[in-house]
Symmetry: D2
């Protein structure tokens, strides 16, 4: 086994790519050999991302310069939705791939087109991808060459719900997911929705009942319970913090189920998952998980009402951290390598 | 009719009281004669509340100094929960009262004690109070001497739901309310939950499935539909903005109901309500209503899913502004007097 | 005297213009007849600025449609720097003008070009303009047809320093102004410097020792003391609040001068200025003046060190509020008409 | 040489202590054996500091339980000012000490009492302490048993100014330091100044011209230039970010000195200092250094004006990070051990 692998980040100037670069620079089993970014091609990383000043001498290459891929063992694709599906058919065959976009997450071609609103020209590659929700698909990821890293909202909903599906615990026709995201989820390009004077004291809903993470969530939950009829309500909101997702999931318990049953099920499901922390009858807080790869899950029961709270950092467990966790699994490194040190004091 | 009434604010050093003072100082039909505050008694208002420097020469009196009430036409009670119920039995009989606390909102004695966790020593006065949700109980408020001003979360849920109850529009057994509040809702005393280093980038749930506004909400919705079985799920959250409440309400539509039916009902219900603004198939934003008395209501339908979004300023429509609106109705002033000028540009 | 004047706002979709519209809609002596905005021409104001929904039926016209000016008594020019100087030569002669841009503030042509980096094609109109710092140039403004509204940073520095110049109080060769602005000062267009993920927890300096408000400040201070040699150090910073400017001004006292002398001078200078509030040996706070037309000035002395603190709302006293104050003076309305009600509780 | 040292943190429940615990848990050369906190004594760390859930099983001991010190090689004192001076005389003699409070920083007894307002009962221990500004006193720290870790504001001013003292570069009688701190600098106890509704959009000055870091700054600068007459102006401000200090330092250049001379001097002075990053003719940003041990220094010259900008994280380089850096130097570890991985992407 190689001591260190060579990795590249395609689309490294956005927030997901930069967070990935940060994590990989501190990862003992990875050399970051190549980073690319279209607008910044030719520039030093530290000129575009001043936080990296003094930390790396890397220079951005062009995304289309595929020769740079030859010496890599692994490439992370961090470009906007729609770019990976054009690139993947042209990748060298030896290369492992972790795609952080939504291009290859969905196994149903029609659902993809319905929610992403565009043709998929390389859908034949979809079946090569394993869905990279580490805590649920760990065994498949171990064998995977291509991994589709889950969406940030999807990760939060799936980690809260997948353990409970098909276990005779919750009513399967009443699931409401109310998700709130920080501003870094909108990416590094300035836009109206992240204009400080309007975001700093604002709160609103967007993509009304129609977020593109819905099909991957329903796919994951149906994997957990193939008899599930397959409908949940998801609404996403913009909140004025920078990092994090907080999702409140509302269900109805089946007769005779109480908070202890939920606890037992979560404990069993996550017993080998170091990055999930259970907070019994309590709420997590996005600030406790920010800058870390943790997902904190709390819940409360009142009669037949169950509410589940899931908090994670959208850039770490919701993107770059989970991508590294997937890499660790794919290359048979310790699952927490390079990630366990990501902690936060306040 | 008197040109101007004399009003007092009991408990004027907290955020609700201070917002009320601000509004009343600009109200053409009100003289603010007395303000009280226990800890600040004897001090100039502007020494405790520096924003008021240059705006008023009032000095805080003591809450227990009831002689100060004699020359008033109206008193606003803005003290913490539990203080009004001790004071009300001792008020002069000529005095009109608007109570901003939760002491007299709930008509069912057992529900009061269950949710407020304390005995109610003057519950016989409860029946003298009209519940002051202006848009719903306007006619009763016109005749009222005592008004119980609604809670901030309650106002948001009730304005979104009351119009739809008993109209054969929504399923009555599936109502989830996910509410988010700004930090001013926790009051003016510094505490852990509003410590800037932890609130600024935090988001969490609190009072898990057990908020004390639940009984007044259920009471209001049962007034609207006496056949309603009476259960909804309410979860409140702390968000890192200062002013505002944003509540997302999830329901299932009955067969044949669509977004247009909801619109028609809201338009009819609110047609004489200048402080409710309807935003068809769109989300409101707490920043659009902050510093104003508006409640903005938006909604979206997807198949049988209905989500309603309600945004208001917790200190204005959720407290002081609605109290002034109630005063205007009680004294037969124009309902928007002193409130219409509360606007916001960014 | 006319009961009401007819006013228009040229460039009303930015933050300065929108704040002005908000104030004028509540002003008892003004009809807002026309608002214009290039990108939004033809649209309802409330479609572009959702806060105004329900408050006005105005529709944006095009900036170039000068016919709209004929029925106006007064036009506010709120366009970006450089647009007023093209428009002013074409305005109808009956029209009074308040220009919020920097185009006509500076009497020295070379200084204008040095700091604004462009030719001034209509500099012959400059001499028609009075510099609209109300507390200093009130008598000239009363007679003015054209007023150049001061810059936001300039207002803060000038109100702190102008009273002290030429009074034998401070050393004239040691003046350092360290100014901090909120994000609304960058305007309503989204940009990197106001991207929420970067502004929310960021703080930095910009326009290093080279801000374009420097020449108008030096001009104003030399008006106050024609013997002043004319050099101060000004550095501006971006802070993560939305509204407000806080400027700390450092000087050295002359022999025998103490804090009481400073107080006496300020009190005398501002005794007829309702919008300046003096806070003796204390610091003001931008949150105390936000959403108001107040400028709060505090100061402290330690031996020969004097620090002066000036806080104001950049959109109100730093722009739209001062423009309305100028209008009130020009039209001989009460100076605080439509402005005194702008207050803030928290 | 021991592979790992045993360390304890006295006063570990505050922000400085918690940040230190976070760093030390990831430090390859340290076992954290003991943490203490008075109010939390007996409780699990993770119960008081929920971020640490899953990261440590440590339980807080009592501060007075000195037996716990016996097995340690090093203790960090992170208690409030005034507690260390009572504890230090009772420490076991084998123990190395890094004190994060202000108790032993100042060599002049009268200056200590003047600025800290209390008697110093164990001033005879002061001479055992080395002042722990790593980049300036590195050689002395190597030999030290006791280190007084610098204050956060002091670190920012001293790193900006110490290199320039006594070099014939700047006028020594005109130094103004305008410093802005985030809310975490006020500690973990909720108080008015850090109450979110007032801090979130507030900005103000405090400790007017009278901050207690002044004597340690003047002491450090006089170490650099014994001929310096010893007076600078320091004013601190509260800003609405959480982490970070940004200090703007204003000087006058001596004849013939330009920006290049400043650059050369800084480059020479900091050439072996991995945690100082120089940003030529540019401003740093507190967000670039937050969660890291970096100090970023930028500067600009305009004629004879020099402004220096210093940004650091008050909890890391301004407290816990510098303490670990001091530990690394004292124990002859690599200076960046356990600190180089503290990076930030956004």
């Amino acid at each position: 086994m190689k001591t260190k692998i060579n990795a590249g980040i395609w689309g490294a100037s956005g927030y997901g790519g930069a967070e990935l670069l940060k994590i990989l620079l501190g990862h003992p089993r990875v050399n970051v050999l190549e980073v690319t970014a279209n607008e910044a091609a030719g520039r030093l990383v530290a000129d575009t991302l001043p936080q990296f000043f003094g930390l790396t001498d890397l220079r951005f290459g062009a995304i289309n310069d595929l020769d740079r891929l030859n010496k890599l063992d692994l490439v992370f694709l961090c470009m906007p939705h729609g770019k990976s599906k054009a690139l993947v058919p042209n990748l060298p065959s030896h290369l492992k791939v972790i795609d952080l976009s939504g291009d290859y997450r969905i196994r149903d071609h029609d659902r993809y087109e319905e929610y992403y609103g565009s043709k998929h020209e390389s859908f034949e590659f979809q079946s090569k991808f394993v869905y990279g929700l580490c805590e649920v698909y760990r065994d498949k990821i171990k064998e995977a060459g291509y991994v589709a890293n889950p969406g940030c909202f999807a990760t939060s909903v799936e980690l809260g719900l997948a353990p409970l599906m098909g276990q005779n615990l919750i009513a399967d026709d009443f699931i409401v997911c109310d998700a709130k995201t920080g501003s870094s989820g909108s990416g590094s390009k300035a836009k109206k929705a992240t204009h400080h004077p309007e975001r700093s004291q604002g709160f609103w809903a967007y993509k009304l009942l129609n977020h593109q993470h819905l099909p991957e969530i329903e796919q994951c939950l149906r994997d957990a319970d193939p008899t599930w009829p397959g409908h949940l309500t998801l609404q996403v909101h913009s909140a004025p913090f920078v990092r994090g997702i907080f999702t409140s999931i509302y269900c109805r318990l089946k007769d005779g189920v109480d908070s202890g049953h939920i606890r037992k099920r979560y404990e069993a499901f996550f017993k080998s998952s170091e990055f999930v922390r259970l907070r019994y009858q309590a709420s997590p807080n996005v600030s406790w998980v920010s800058h870390t790869n943790f997902t904190d899950i709390g819940w409360q029961v009142n009669h037949t009402d169950l509410v589940i709270f899931v908090a994670l950092d959208n850039l770490v467990k919701g993107a770059a951290g989970q991508a590294v966790q997937n890499m660790n699994i794919m290359f048979h490194f310790a699952e927490g390598e390079g990630l366990s040190g990501l902690t936060n004091s306040v």
